[in-house]
């Protein structure tokens, strides 16, 4: 999958703008991270909820690619995000996403986000993605 555009954060402009980094990928799982920067933070110096939603959306997409193991054009059909608690100030965030099932045209994903401790979640999410077509090499 190394050549897949979708798995290279640098090739997704918005992910690149936010500085999303891939931590790990494989078997329907993905982990992505976003560092703390002032321009991504709210007035309390914690990562903005919109940044976390972007992190989640991209982590879910990467998890879908990872499960299907091929180049695909996918799009978000729906996404529900719960912001459990604020992140710590000036702290990066890590998302873990799991594409737990997929049919020919749809993929189902759950995600969790934490800041300092994986057992202390700051956000949880669930979404459905459309699998549109294979991408020509």
């Amino acid at each position: 999958m190394a050549g897949d555009w979708s798995l290279q954060p640098g090739s997704i402009p918005w992910g690149n703008r936010l500085g999303l980094e891939v931590v790990s990928i494989g078997d329907g799982l993905s982990s992505l991270r976003v560092g703390w920067r002032r321009e991504l933070a709210d007035e309390d110096e914690v990562l903005a909820t919109g940044v976390l939603t972007s992190l989640i959306d991209q982590a879910c997409g990467v998890a879908v690619m990872s499960r299907l193991g091929r180049r695909l054009a996918i799009s978000t059909l729906n996404l529900k995000v719960d912001h459990v608690r604020s992140a710590e100030a000036r702290c990066p965030a890590t998302a873990w996403a799991h594409c737990y099932d997929a049919t020919e045209h749809r993929a189902f994903v759950r995600a969790e986000v934490w800041d300092t401790d994986p057992s202390h979640l700051i956000a949880t999410a669930q979404g459905v993605f459309s699998i549109n077509r294979a991408v020509a090499p």
């Binding site: 933070a41 919109g50 959306d57």
Partner: protein, 143 residues
């Protein structure tokens, strides 16, 4: 169009400031002027779901903030997003609806539409926690 209004109401919020540079406001309608930076699918190309979500969230929050009294703030609890069509590189507008503003929770609907047409692109339902935000604000992690 009043870009200044967005900048002034975002204060020390760095991310709102960043998004505010990509948005305009006219009355109660907010418009996202897309740039290449906002793309999530370079093949179509279409805007990133997270970028659309961030725009609708900020618009909803700004619309809600207008109705809150000075010492009050709002913080997003949950967001439910339904995408209806790929969001291409055209301008996207939203006029958020305050469905209910209670003492503790406010519910806002924000529908993303093509500015130059009637095409619906995305529906968002947002729930905000409403609280006090002055100097003695409770900065708890809601734990």
């Amino acid at each position: 169009m009043n870009e200044g209004a967005i900048g002034a109401s975002t204060g020390r919020n760095g991310f709102a400031k960043l998004l505010g540079t990509m948005m305009t406001q006219s009355g109660e309608t907010f418009t996202l002027i897309p740039t290449e930076e906002l793309v999530g699918n370079p093949i179509l190309p279409a805007l990133h779901g997270g970028a659309i979500a961030s725009f609708l969230e900020l618009a909803a929050q700004l619309a809600l903030s207008r109705t809150l009294s000075p010492g009050q703030s709002c913080r997003l609890i949950s967001m439910n997003l339904q995408f209806l069509a790929p969001v291409r590189l055209g301008a996207v507008s939203t006029t958020p609806t305050l469905v209910r503003v209670g003492r503790r929770v406010a519910v806002v609907h924000a529908e993303g539409v093509e500015r130059n047409g009637t095409g619906k692109l995305c529906l968002a339902q947002l729930e905000f926690a409403v609280g006090q935000s002055s100097g003695d604000e409770d900065h708890t992690r809601h734990s």
